[in-house]
Subunit: 360 residues, 2 copies
């Protein structure tokens, strides 16, 4: 084999992104490791899928997911030309990198944040630079702008911390970077938060907002994401998009889901309530838990015999999967816990109690 | 707007790939323009989709489509490590370009061929070079090798001509390019042909073979493609792949389809029979129709008042969509016609008769 002669050096040098564990069918875990929604998709969404799973699957889908973009425009008060649909929001992030970032150009983000950004940057031959969050989680606007990056990411709520920055700081960042690049406001978790940034699009032509159906819409299994931006930027993104990137069933589900936000709102509120309960219960048990507006909490473990890896392993032994970020030294003493059903979180708290008792 | 400051110049310069027309719901066309299969997916495939369209959609799919890769390995006599699954074979082509082609590097193909290859090359900042097919459609091995391309495409059966080159010529090309690049044998249409190239993988470590479920598997609506290659190259491709690129329902359908090739074989044979009948019928009407092994024919129109664009427009007026390649001067006098149901092809031939009578 002559991999070096064939494969791009950037790819050979990469380790590749590793998503959270997806247990094989058979073993039953309480799955609190990849921020899925604990509730099933609402019935009308499943019915829309069933109604489209017929002989029409022999035909290509609508190339640009127009019915989805129209439903999104109705739901969020925009025009369909402002919406680009992705095969999951990861597909949108890939399109964004390919549209804006050439070899050697910079991509910036505050850190720690979503660990896929550097991978996508390296795929594109770009240079990833990080500026630490300010004290109290504020957005380091000046430091980020100094990188003069083609793309600057802001994840809001942030992963894996769950915290949000004020929208005014996102607006400042858009202004500070407009001369050389775009800002991507990654709102994968925003439906669990108190506000969102779509309103910033009006004043900031260098802003793109991305959303995911994998968390708040209970549809991680169908791969649907949305991007919002000016019609002019959307036109460039469509050139980069695979011709038929969303399949017929994903389009049917997304259109149905966007038409029934009323059925999702109670699910989002249930997650918020449970997030508050679990945050407080973990604090009472000695964990340090920041204020999260996402469907997960990042918990710093209390002093004791177990470190973050140890807690993750012991919880797995107890049948509960949580996420540990071994690669980031700033996160070594933390575990990220997805908010599941109340009974699942009770099981988690029981397991935590057992491990704390055993470690005394 | 400051598109120039934000968007990569390669993207600004592109027109973007335009797929064949997908008519809006409501108007009923005989759709012979995008090489879909005229038959519905077999019942067990639709049942597999229905059986998975439930609350599990809240969970992410298996990231690497392992059940699909295992089913493909069983169906084709390979190991799952030799298989990479794509969100349509276009997703695989994108992954291939991103794995192997850096800025300024060359991508080669005989021409005319699939018009997406230059678009994908330009997205990657690469240089697309074409060598004409030899007389009688032979593969220009020496001319292609002279380009020293990182990726050389061979579409077999070719689109839009439908012709096949001998597998021995593909093997020669692999040897002639191994010192500097890979060969991609694009077998999107191979199930309608007389033989395939998977057997070449054993002797040619720089070969990748791609397949599509959009034509022979009656599943264009679900976006499924497969790539076959050495385990080592597959490992590099997985780094470039989106983490969860195939959704749960596409995976369920693909696994079911690969387990029931017996149900597909009669559909492929029916298309072959109809292809022969239509080719002959068009020849009798004055068209020049080459030998096709795909699910379409490329027909050079007889002399008369209508050119290729005229024929395409008149057939559309008659309710029949065919494909015309306005951008390629070599194809200006040709139309590509997908093989549909026998009754649809009868309607086509009737319309052809009408237009021929009118043009006398």
């Amino acid at each position: 084999m002559s991999l070096q002669q064939w494969v791009r050096p950037e790819i050979l040098a990469m380790a590749g992104y590793v998503p959270g564990e997806q247990p094989a069918p058979g073993r039953s875990f309480i799955k609190l490791n990849t921020n899925e929604n604990p509730y099933p998709p609402p019935r009308p969404v499943l019915e829309a899928i069933a109604a489209n799973a017929d002989q029409r699957l022999r035909l290509y889908p609508e190339p640009s997911s127009r019915p989805v973009r129209e439903a999104a425009a109705r739901a969020y008060g925009l025009h369909p030309d402002h919406v680009v649909a992705g095969n999951g929001s990861d597909d949108l992030l890939t399109m964004i990198l390919r549209t804006f970032v050439g070899p050697g150009e910079r991509v910036a983000a505050p850190g720690p944040t979503y660990s896929l950004y550097p991978e996508l940057t390296h795929l594109q031959g770009g240079v990833y630079v990080e500026s630490p969050w300010l004290a109290e989680g504020g957005l380091p606007v000046a430091a980020l702008a100094e990188h003069r990056a083609k793309v600057t990411f802001v994840t809001r709520p942030n992963a894996p911390t769950g915290h949000v920055v004020p929208l005014s700081q996102v607006a400042e960042l858009c202004q500070a970077t407009a001369a050389f690049g775009v800002v991507v406001l990654d709102e994968a978790y925003v439906d669990f938060a108190e506000d969102h940034g779509l309103g910033l699009l009006v004043d900031h032509p260098n802003l793109l907002v991305t959303r995911s159906f994998s968390k708040s819409f209970c549809l991680a299994g169908l791969r649907i994401g949305l991007g919002f931006m000016s019609a002019e930027l959307a036109g460039q993104m469509h050139k980069v998009r695979d011709s038929y990137n969303l399949d017929r069933l994903a389009q049917a589900a997304a259109e149905a889901a966007l038409g029934r936000l009323d059925l999702y709102a109670p699910l989002w509120e249930a997650v918020r309530l449970e997030r508050r309960r679990v945050s407080e219960a973990l604090r009472q048990r000695g964990f340090t838990v920041g204020e999260s507006q996402a469907n997960f909490v990042l918990a710093a473990i209390p002093p004791g015999r177990l470190d973050g890896a140890g807690w993750t392993g012991e919880l797995k032994n107890a049948g509960i999967l949580v996420r540990y970020f071994a690669a980031d030294p700033r996160l070594r003493d933390r575990i990220r816990i997805t908010i599941g059903l109340p009974e699942e979180m009770d099981r988690l708290l029981d397991a935590v109690d057992g491990l704390l008792a055993g470690s005394r």
